[in-house]
Symmetry: C2
Subunit: 606 residues, 2 copies
């Protein structure tokens, strides 16, 4: 009751299924709730490129400009590819559905599994990066990074248990603020550059740097690709859009691509102009903002909205993960529990699962983004590749009007994303190997769960014509500890069901056994009392043995039921004063015997 | 099953009740298991006196000698008093039993409650002080004090869940080592002093110190009384002794007093001779040992056994707390759960309760002994006083041979301990007020629990002649989600009990409802199907409403039973794939309705 009231307060009143339609998203709201993951990537994309380049020294930073342009090209390819997916799969589902449909179940599960892992990483990375934005502004908080990130995740979890639309309304504003303020930052930065605010010795574009290898450039390029994480979110969530869902989704995707590209290029150029080098204690965006505005109001405002949007990026996963888990559960690859909608129509179990695992990741990595991001990026590019491959197969199979052009777009997309996946494995194996451990484990779990459900379904299926309920006799066992109103109540219930009732008493010494037998004879409730002696002070052990015997004698002819009386107390705290033995008995009996355990309530008046 | 095997591994095989006799303690073992609390107090007793005196400057430290002698006098009084108690109450029980017997229930509960609080503090203080001994030797561990103390408490808990004798065998050796090594330290220290190793400027005994007030001296004296905590343990545990229990217990008490007195005085004198001042990072005993032996093997050995014996002092409470809780539970002042002996014949619930609360204290106080010890000491002196007062009343009431002398001893004891309690309240109110908050709360809980149990016993008592079990009709409700072998099984069971069976299906939309109705008609199991429609996606809500209706119609004439099928899976991990709805239903139904919940198992083959 208490727990129930608490739940209402935190999560809100339950909603009818019909209210689900009202939860659907318009374009702008969808941009807010689905693109925060992609847009927020600009907070760390440029920084990842610079970290990789700095290995070759400050002179190499000019490479960040051509690399950023290459990343933009990749973004264009991805947007075009995913636009095609949206129209081909208006029911949504993204990489899992596309790969399963066109490449078979196993490949689909590979895509689905890596996406699930990836959503967990989205939450961990975004919460950690958002915390970085805060600690850049307030260095004294640096030591509390894990705590801050964890609290943020818990808060998001609560918001999402409340339901989709309400969160969207709350979350839309900071995203618009972020976009506006980053563009203000870029424009101001350009003006400052033009009025002579550049770093004095930045290496000119095209400067020869002796120790820059192709390996290093590929590594920097793949690092920059982390800026593209999150663009798939729109195509996964089409059923969440208002009608016409495909058109709205495609428009949202294009809007997102334009904004993302603009912001990413702007940040990269400013970082280059100001000659910014990555630091452990301050993010690149924080350095740019501090150089442009000084550490005044505008600086803190930008850090604030950057942190906020990164936290909201984590929120993207809260829409995507439970939906994908639902689809996998419907296909019997994940536990049925992920199909249950909560009181507020969200998939509560998916939300809680996501929260738990992402918190574990944040704690394990100590909130360190630098090592989480490559893991995250490789997890994204696997489903990217599989999804494109699936689309290619689809065009060849269905050959709709203009399929040649469509095939070409997806082929380019597939080859690029496959290339980047390989570059990741090649250049950053020490950071990304974990994905290749977890992915097979997840796949194996999917298949084990599926096999179990399929076998159980077979086992439970009955022939409506031939299999009818079988009626047997009934034996009821009533454990008693004395003669009280509760015992009288239980025996009354048992005798109402069958004449075959046995009361069992477990005694520790002769005295108590004799007394009980005499009292029982005096009471004479019309039920035989069987007395067991216990040398260990255990009640459960002799009782279990006795039930074994009963089962051995009568299981063929009778259903065996054991009655366990349970006090229902007036106040919750009184509960701990009773029912300990009943609880113990139930725990021991469950899983062991083929007997029915019936809990007979006794309502205490006091 | 897994949990069971784990439990065996950690706790050992279950023991028969008869083995209880074998668990009884001889004198030497009793000294080891019961006196560690008292003896280990020398590790902080002298230090507490010095901390109080240092407020008046280094010149005041000479007062530690007369104060230590006064504490010794008090020790003598306590030993004599408690010796009388042992012979008067051979069944043991200490302050709770003595006070309850002679001063009435409420006073007995006051003694019992303060003892319970005190045992929790014993564990917290001893674990923290033992950790201090370790961190004095290894200053780098200073920051991990809370963690170390917690791990120690968890380890002791495990040992005690294994049973009394086995712990005694393991624990006896360090106590003997501690006693021997402290006496070696004292003798070596005296030799070093005689050979000219004293501190050059220690204030002579009797030096006038301007700012020493009576208040300060009383405070220092009461601080020193913390060295006497634990002497009551023997009289509480007489039933644990081998026969003749009283004689053995009394002898153990006197042995303990002699050893304690000798060690305490020795440490105090050495501390004075060496001119040692208390420090936050190093204990007084550590400073004495370092001055005597240098930081070599002997120093680390002494720190090691000091830490060990302090941890074993915590162990004293593990014998005493569960025994007292058992007595209070038998008298219906604490939950019955404290009367259940575990598989290894220890009172497992008492042990676990003690562990949990002491860990909370250690964490709350950050492992800081200086603030825990006064709390601890005042908690000891309240039952000391009440116990003496109870003995006085007893002598006056019974007037056995030589009662005058006995009365005199206990009167002196009562007045002294009462005086010290008042000094504590007077000089250290800011540190001890918590006891006076918790004590009334504990008393109130005792009385609430007692009232509840008495009322319930009244409510449950039946007239053997008049109250016989009442036989009624029976209605069985079977919630079904489809037509499967499980449903067939449940309906078979239900029809074996009664003809009054109703199947209930909760549908979310017209489609599924129509399909279910058609299938049911085709199957025709001879049971009526009732279909409920749910607008919220909840299964429990409409089901509860339906059961309300059934209850309203038939509660007078019928017992209502609801069958909940439960899958018993072959592997534990499969359990999470099933039974979610059943669990939900049981949680909702329990506490709400006057209906029997019967769990019908279905053993899955896969």
């Amino acid at each position: 009751m208490m727990a129930n009231r608490m739940k209402r307060l935190l999560i809100g009143r339950p909603m009818k299924s019909k209210e689900l339609e009202g939860e659907k998203l318009g374009r702008l709201k969808a941009l807010a709730i689905l693109s925060s993951d992609a847009l927020s990537s600009v907070a760390y994309g440029t920084e990842q490129i610079l970290i990789a380049l700095m290995v070759a020294g400050f002179a190499a930073v000019w490479y960040s400009i051509p690399i950023s342009i290459a990343v933009l090209g990749l973004l264009l390819i991805l947007i075009l590819s995913y636009r095609q997916t949206i129209f081909a799969y208006p029911m949504g589902g993204g990489a899992y559905v596309v790969a399963k449909n066109n490449l078979g179940t196993t490949t689909g599960l590979l895509a689905g599994g890596s996406l699930l892992i990836d959503y967990i990483l989205t939450v961990a990375v975004s919460a950690s990066a958002g915390t970085d934005a805060i600690t850049s502004a307030f260095p004294s908080l640096h030591d509390h990074r894990v705590l801050i990130a964890t609290v943020v995740i818990l808060f998001l979890t609560l918001m999402n248990l409340r339901g989709v639309t309400e969160s969207a309304s709350v979350l839309a504003i900071p995203i618009y603020l972020f976009v506006v303020s980053i563009f203000v930052l870029i424009v101001s930065g350009v003006i400052r550059y033009l009025t002579g605010g550049a770093h004095p010795d930045i290496p000119e574009l095209g400067t020869a740097v002796s120790n820059v290898s192709l390996f290093l450039l590929l590594k920097a390029f793949s690092s920059g690709c982390s800026a593209l994480t999150g663009v798939e979110a729109v195509s996964n969530a089409i059923p969440n859009f208002k009608q016409p869902a495909e058109r709205n989704a495609a428009a949202t995707l294009v809007m997102m691509g334009l904004i993302l590209g603009g912001m990413f290029l702007g940040i990269s150029v400013l970082a280059y102009w100001y000659g910014i080098t990555p630091s452990h204690n301050e993010t690149v965006v924080s350095q740019i903002a501090a150089s442009t505005f000084g550490r005044g109001f505008l600086y803190y405002f930008i850090q604030g909205v950057t942190a906020l949007i990164l936290f909201l990026a984590a929120n993207t996963a809260y829409s995507a993960f439970p939906l994908l888990a639902f689809m996998l559960a419907k296909d019997k690859y994940m536990p049925h529990a992920f199909m249950v909608r909560g009181d507020r129509l969200g998939f509560s179990n998916g939300i809680l699962f996501l929260a738990a695992f992402s918190i574990v990741l944040v704690v394990l990595f100590g909130g360190d983004t630098e090592n989480l991001i490559p893991l995250y990026a490789v997890g994204v590019f696997i489903p990217f590749t599989l999804s494109q491959l699936g689309m290619m197969v689809r065009w060849v199979r269905l050959r709709p009007k203009g399929w040649g052009g469509k095939l070409a777009i997806n082929t380019v997309g597939m080859l690029t994303t496959l290339g980047i996946t390989l570059i990741f494995i090649f250049t950053k194996f020490s950071q990304v190997w974990m994905v290749f451990v977890f992915l097979p484990v997840v796949m194996w779990l999917f298949l084990r769960i599926h096999r179990h459900y399929v076998k159980v379904a077979d086992e439970l299926r009955i022939d409506l014509a031939a299999d009818k309920p079988v009626i047997k006799g009934s034996t009821v066992v009533v454990p008693v500890a004395g003669i009280t109103r509760v015992v009288s109540n239980s025996i009354g219930y048992a005798k109402s069901l069958t004449d075959n009732v046995v009361a069992v008493y477990v005694g520790f010494d002769d005295d108590s056994i004799e007394r009980m037998e005499a009292k029982w004879a005096e009471w004479n409730p019309g039920v035989r009392l069987i007395v067991l002696r216990s040398s260990y002070r255990s009640i459960t052990r002799p009782l279990l043995k006795f039930i074994d015997t009963v089962e051995w004698k009568t299981a063929e002819t009778d259903h065996i039921t054991i009655l366990i009386p349970q006090f229902v107390t007036k106040h919750w705290w009184q509960h701990i004063l009773h029912n300990q033995t009943g609880l113990l008995l139930r725990t021991y009996l469950f899983n062991r015997k083929d007997i029915v355990i019936a809990t007979v309530p006794y309502h205490l008046k006091h």
